[in-house]
């Protein structure tokens, strides 16, 4: 099983990190936590 990445924050920096990590290592399990209503509005 792949390793697990948790990203806190779904603005610009968080989703950028999540997407790139998953692209580089497709085995990685990636979870983004976002407290607000909208994701990636600033990316």
């Amino acid at each position: 099983m792949g390793k697990k990445l948790v990203v806190v924050g779904g603005g610009a920096g968080g989703p950028s990190a999540a997407a790139k990590a998953k692209r580089v290592d497709p085995e990685l399990e990636v979870i983004i936590l976002e407290g607000g209503e909208h994701v990636s509005f600033s990316a």
Binding site: K3, K4, L5, V6, V7, V8, G9, G10, G11, A12, G13, G14, P15, S16, A17, A18, A19, K20, A21, K22, R23, V24, D25, L28, I31, L33, G35, G36, E37, H38, F41, S42, A43
Partner: protein, 352 residues
Amino acid sequence: MEISDGETLAFDYLVVATGATPRLPGVPGQDLEGIFCLRNVTDAIRIRKFIDEKRVKRAVVVGAGLISLEMCEAFRRLGLETTVVYRKDLPLRRLGEDFAEQILTELETNGVAFMGETSLEGFEPTDTGGIIVHSSGGTFETDLVLLGLGVVPQVSLASEAGLGIGSTGAISVNKFLQTNIPYIYAAGDCCECFHRISQRPVYAPLGDIANKQGRIAGANIGGQNLSFPGIVGSTCFKVFNLEVASTGLTAEEAREVGLKAEAVTIQGVSKAHSYPGSRELHIRLVADTENGRLLGAQAVGGDGVVSRINGLAVALTGGLSLDELAYLDLAYAPPFSGAWDPIHIAAQKLLK
């Protein structure tokens, strides 16, 4: 890590990308209905809904940074009577008095009232749903207030997790975007970045930087070995018909970090003089008097401002000197510049 439903979440890697939160003035009444900050889409929708539903006619903008000035334009487009309340005498003071004056003129030309050297004291509701604004410049009534006082990094989670906080108050990271705990990374407005010209950590909460830091953190977590080279401090924005941009240090900032700096300011044109639609363009170059190396640039004008500043951002990154800038091979055709670009003219003037 614990999440809001009380569950815990295990991880091998963590990215803290918690962003920033608007700075509040800490005055009485700041939480009243009709007083807003603008941070995200939810805020934007709330503000627009309030304007439409309450038939807002008057707005007060507190602060005169990028978001405040952009919101002045948005409010004026909606036909609102708009007043800025600001602590300093001029907006964007950092760019120098002459450039700040031009920004002020642009605001006033477009119907924005500017109350400089005015401190906010508090708010009170009226019986009719309005808001009374108390300030050192007097008491007046409005329908809506936008607080644009800048942001502070959101580091509460990071502090609880024991992550190192830097001198700027944001999370400190190395060039791989790792915090002091190597499997915990940070990216974006919650963390600091390295300024290549001042050679210090700075807090630069900007969207392009957040994207780059995020991507580099992600690449490293995925197994690559990328480093974030730092920033030269480039920003731009538009207020009504004026473009404003800067990169690197101002002369004052350069001196504060111990550099010997001198600056020159020229007025040029955005396109060839003869070309229709050519607009004034003011550009200031800052250079190190000891070795002629470019340290920064600021510009305001009607057009072509950002292309000049972006060119100069590249020059800063490459460590170019004024000699090199003075005869730099910039692309030329009349719709875009004169044969001598304002960059050449400024560099040659500063060399004299």
